[in-house]
């Protein structure tokens, strides 16, 4: 079997198996799997407007995924990406609320995006500082800051930003139209600006990791921070900038949710997209092109599944089942492939030691 065939096999077989498993579950639930799959595809592609919904889900997912590729390269588990999205949404909402009536759209959007980047990037920087200065692992710091960001959003919605007509803690008042991302058309309700930013982010992250000194520094820090430091890499700076870039991209993703998807600030506005992005990047093994495609597939499955209830009286959480099995099986296939590939190093070099060493060096 040639290498290319093998590679494609390892990509396709887990997807096929997860389709089979999902089909089995659908049969057990008493429905027709083919009808379900057809309905999902119809839900995603039946019209440009439906596909627009898929793209609107894909844009923030792709932004977060590209950010996470950066932090993964630096050897960091930025699970705080959810909170960074929320803080981006809050910052953008703040600008929309305070200046939405007084500035035109062309001036507002750049300000909102900037605020979102600062909000998300700053929130990520806190995780970074906790890690590098105080030795708090980024997973714990991230989880704590995720909770804080969500609580802060709920506080704003039910407190200072509550609608004048009386709040139900469901959302703020709708933002003025001038403060929102402009949709391309009624038939294709996607912001071309948002799409452009996402595509630019994909390109820039891919290029930065491949061709810049910063990208090389991130890679060195991620693989062995101690050696990297001795070879002259500013490891603390690498870790902090990786966090900030990821946070800034997640912040833009959050602003897209607030200023396009909902047009207001809501509790849990990230909708789990940050966590989903973690899965996307894991499945794609941090490769930008694959990340982009897998994010699109997930967007299709999740976007299309909203139609399940209408068409087949099935709950749309079925899409979650398919997505979950895909993730598990692809990761399983990746592990299997690594095991089958000739081991370069003897097993005695356990990863445990490297993780400890890395931590001790990124901490200044």
């Amino acid at each position: 079997m040639s290498k290319a065939v093998q590679r494609i096999g390892f990509a396709l077989v887990p997807v096929l198996i997860s389709l089979l498993i999902t089909a089995l579950i659908i049969v057990i639930a008493g429905a027709d799997p083919l009808a379900v799959f057809q309905s999902v595809l119809e839900g995603a592609f039946r019209s440009t407007s439906a596909f627009g919904g898929v793209v609107n889900f894909w844009i923030p997912l792709a932004l977060c995924s590209m950010g996470l590729i950066v932090t993964f390269t630096a050897g960091l588990w930025n699970i705080g990406v959810e909170g960074q999205m929320v803080m981006g949404a809050i910052a953008a909402s703040g600008v929309a609320r305070s200046l939405g009536e007084s500035l035109p759209n062309e001036a507002l959007i750049p300000l909102e995006i900037l605020a979102a980047m600062i909000g998300g990037g700053g929130w990520a920087l806190i995780v970074g500082i906790l890690k590098t200065r105080l030795g708090v692992h980024e997973i714990f710091g991230g989880v704590a800051l995720n909770a804080l960001a969500n609580v802060y959003a709920i506080y704003l919605i039910s407190g200072p930003w509550t609608p004048p007509e009386g709040g139900s803690a469901q959302s703020t008042s709708p933002f003025p139209t001038a403060a929102l991302y402009q949709r391309a058309s009624g038939d294709f309700p996607v912001s071309l600006l948002g799409l452009g930013i996402a595509l630019a982010a994909i390109l820039l992250v891919a290029l930065a990791l491949r061709g810049t000194r910063w990208g090389l520094h991130l890679k060195a820090t991620g693989k062995n921070a101690k050696s990297a430091l001795l070879l002259g890499v500013p490891t603390v700076q690498s870790a902090l900038t990786a966090f900030m870039v990821c946070g800034a991209l997640a912040g833009i993703a959050g602003s897209y949710r607030a200023l396009l998807t909902y047009g207001s600030l809501r509790p849990f506005i990230s909708g789990g997209i940050g966590f989903l992005a973690l899965l996307v990047v894991l499945v794609a093994a941090s490769r930008p092109v694959w990340t982009t495609l897998i994010a699109l597939i997930f967007a299709v499955i999740l976007g299309g599944s909203t139609r399940l209830r209408v068409a087949l009286q099935l709950d749309q959480s079925l899409a979650g089942v398919l997505q979950g099995t895909v993730v598990l099986l692809v990761l399983l296939a990746n592990g299997l492939r690594q095991r089958l590939a000739e081991p370069r190093r003897p097993r005695k070099e356990a990863p445990r030691a490297t993780v400890e060493r890395q931590r001790s060096v990124i901490i200044d």
């Binding site: 061709g211 810049t212 000194r213 910063w214 990208g215 090389l216 520094h217 890679k219 060195a220 693989k223 062995n224 101690k226 050696s227 990297a228 430091l229 001795l230 070879l231 002259g232 890499v233 500013p234 000739e342 081991p343 370069r344 190093r345 003897p346 097993r347 005695k348 060493r357």
Partner: protein, 491 residues
């Protein structure tokens, strides 16, 4: 146990580590496995002990073909390997570590294990207290524990990888006595992988020699070091003449430096290094010499005293300031501190050579090709560094260091290297020294210290003394000092 290896092949990428090796090891014999770095002896021993699988070939144990897939499998077949760094688990006690790997899960009670450990320890003169945490043991004791554990698992073949690195002379005597007893009385086969020819000569009944992945010959002992070196390299190497020192002005100054760690304190250490001077630091592991060396590049922090390089006061400054002042550091563990596993040689060169924001990969590749050639690194610009052998990794590290630093601080610059690679490294170092680089190095190899140092400091439990006249120093004298005898007679 009789072991037959038949047509063992093992390839790593472009490197054929074991090329059709067929060997026989007889029961009751102690066999030295010799070869320069990258000769394939580690790979062969890993295959024999189940850490790696051969691409093809056969292992026969007492005439029976054995196919095993893990070290545990190999132990079940009676083959156990003592790694250079003992594979124990630090927070646990001697007894707890002793019980690992036993069949039967939890069924073996502590009392039975304690008794088994006691029996083995008594027989071989090991000093192992069952309740001591591993972190309180010396390397030599951890080795004894690992041997005891393997013996209690019923191992009939024992493979030892550089077992005398980092252990005391007394522990070495105990180790050798127990190995001889195991071979003589129990009929065990013992394979010794070592670069230390004096150990091989003292212990082994015969040697086998690998070169470039192939078995090239063997000898029955006794043999002289020259004969063994001849087998390893094809011809004996003449001793290197000691080059004359031309000292310049003082470039590195440690003034009344005190370094405290929870384990030991180095009080009031002063040292002036002049341009072109080579100063050696001696001592048992963790006697304080490592701290002094690391303090000279900002990797250990003195609590008192001042430190200057090239006239710049760098006290309490971080590593990068030392580098900016012209210091270069080479750690003992190359792949842990120095090189980055997973990155290619080209990526390493690009890391140190790139100054702008963008990486010029074509340029980095050209530089890498030139550097690999100049430093005789056997690898390609696309080779991940972890696939290089120890000697090639060390040469790559040399290539990554600045051309003419003010100070080179090196931990065991020739650790694990064969004679030829070690000489090559020192030729490079002496060339830089001739251009005015001061060299501070530490080494467990007394010959190396005496051969290359202009001055030697010996450390013992944080105390230190300078060897009065290095040109007249002897191994015996250094040995006494390293053992802590700092009296006038000891010096």
């Amino acid at each position: 146990m009789n072991i037959e290896l038949k047509h063992i092949h093992k390839r790593f990428g472009a490197v054929l580590a074991n090329d059709d090796i067929s060997l026989t090891f007889s029961a009751g014999r102690i066999v030295g496995v010799l070869g320069e770095n990258g000769a394939g002896k580690s790979t062969l021993m890993k295959i024999l002990s189940g850490y790696q699988r051969p691409d093809s070939g056969l292992i026969l144990l007492d005439g029976q073909p054995a196919a095993y897939h893990s070290p545990l499998d190999a132990i079940a077949h009676g083959v156990g390997m003592l790694q250079q760094d003992p594979l124990d688990i630090a927070p646990f006690t001697v007894l707890e570590n002793f019980t690992y790997g036993r069949p039967g899960g939890l069924s073996m009670g502590r009392q039975a294990a304690r008794k088994a450990l006691f029996e083995i320890a008594r027989r071989y003169g090991f000093t192992l207290d069952p309740e001591t945490p591993i972190s309180h043991l010396s390397i030599g004791q951890r080795q004894q524990l690992e041997i005891a554990r393997l013996l209690s698992l019923g191992v009939k073949t024992l493979i030892l990888d550089e077992p005398t690195t980092g252990i005391s002379a007394e522990q070495k005597t105990i180790l050798f006595q127990s190995l001889r007893a195991l071979a003589r009385d129990d009929g065990m086969s013992i394979l010794l992988v070592s670069h230390k020819l004096e150990d091989v000569i003292a212990l082994c009944d015969e040697v086998v020699v690998l070169r470039g992945g192939r078995f090239v010959g063997g000898a029955t002992m006794p043999a002289t070091p020259e004969q063994l070196v001849g087998l390893m390299f094809g011809q004996p190497l003449p001793p290197e003449p000691r080059p004359a020192a031309q000292l310049g002005k003082p470039v590195v100054q440690l003034d009344h430096v005190t370094i405290r760690t929870p384990r030991l304190t180095i009080q009031d250490f002063s040292l002036t290094l002049r341009a072109g001077e080579v100063v050696g630091l001696a001592g048992l592991d963790h006697s304080g010499q490592e701290l002094v060396l690391r303090a000279c590049v900002g990797l250990a922090r003195p609590s008192h005293g001042t430190l200057t390089i090239g006239g710049r006061d760098l006290t309490h400054k971080p590593y990068r300031d030392f580098v900016a002042a012209g210091a270069a550091f080479g750690a003992a563990g190359r792949i842990e501190e120095g090189l980055i596993a997973g990155l290619t040689t080209t990526e390493h060169i690009a890391l140190t050579a790139t100054t702008g924001a963008l990486v010029n990969w074509a340029n980095a590749r050209t530089i890498t090709e030139a550097q690999l050639k100049q430093y005789d690194v056997r690898g390609t610009p696309a080779s991940p560094v972890e696939t290089l052998s120890g000697g090639n990794q060390q040469r790559l590290l040399m290539a990554l260091m600045p051309q003419s630093p003010v100070l080179m601080a090196l931990e065991q610059p020739t650790r694990g290297l064969d004679v030829e690679s070690a000489r090559w490294i020192w030729a490079q170092l002496l060339e830089r020294r001739a251009h005015g680089t001061a060299i501070l190095f530490l080494s467990p190899d007394l010959d190396e210290l005496i051969a290359y140092s202009d001055r030697i400091f010996v450390f013992f439990a944080g105390r230190f003394c300078e060897v009065p006249d290095v040109r007249a120093a002897t191994i015996d004298q250094l040995g006494r000092l390293i053992g802590g005898d700092f009296t006038p007679e000891g010096r």
